[in-house]
Symmetry: C2
């Protein structure tokens, strides 16, 4: 894969199928693990995938409002908690926002390239660096539980458009 094709993946793909696939995978994983992917949780996950950008809890809440669900913040935050705990979504601390995980697995910690202009975020699936970060921490005698890696800047499209 060169950067050209990577960018194509980032910029445009069959988003309908990407949402669909993510939901299928989520259902499968939850079934396997005996987890209850309830209506609320599923809908939150779907909205996150549909947004195609990091989305805030209150944006999700607003959508719920438009759909006639009369929900309050805890409804959304609980669903987000469930989805995060089970590796289906990541929270992006620097944005107070959430993204669907492209490689859902418990315990996995995502890294992101976040475009300041188009506001899209691309998950870093590369694992070499993560391992290096782990060994860096170990050198300092530090026991890692989780990592936040968020790189902010300009994506290809936005940069070339300037």
């Amino acid at each position: 894969m060169n950067s050209q094709s990577d960018n194509a993946v980032f910029q445009q793909h069959n988003h309908a199928s990407c949402i669909h696939d993510a939901l299928i995978t989520a259902k499968k994983l939850c079934k396997e693990r005996g987890l209850r992917l309830t209506d609320t949780r599923l809908r939150v996950l779907e909205l996150i995938w549909q947004s195609h950008k990091p989305i805030g809890a209150y944006d999700i809440l607003a959508q719920f409002g438009q759909e006639g669900r009369n929900s309050a913040p805890p409804t959304v935050y609980r669903a987000l908690e469930f989805l995060q705990e089970n590796g289906l979504v990541h929270r992006i601390a620097s944005l107070n926002a959430f993204m669907g995980c492209v490689c859902p697995q418990e315990g996995h910690q995502g890294g992101f390239l976040i475009c300041k202009q188009c506001k899209r975020a691309q998950e870093i699936t590369e694992d070499t660096l993560r391992k290096q970060l782990l060994s860096l921490a170990q050198e300092q005698d530090f026991e890692v539980e989780s990592m936040t890696l968020e790189i902010s800047g300009l994506c290809t499209t936005c940069r070339t458009a300037q």
Copy 2:
């Protein structure tokens, strides 16, 4: 340096002199760059260094209250903005808190090892990984502006104490 001595540095040092040095350095840097390190800004920086842990904006505000300064949030946030812009403090996104930078220089982006138990944070000054992250981003044709790297877990002391 082995991890033993690193930890000693992390755990206990002459904190009074560490605060003092940080303030001296800050004053020097601001003078060199023609920046105004005003009373408010200096006091915010001092409180950050005194805390010895990541400290929240509203904690700083509370201190100001105790000192008879009748300040509102913008006062503190403006000072924090100044200090961040000029590389004197870092914001830790996963904690909504601030730490003094141990190697103040404009544009430099800090990484942190954050202990979940004692709440201390140790800045990662190692630069190799940062460069690798940059090249990872470049491979994806992404232009980096800033990086957030926050590793959460247990520091030596807290782990051995268990």
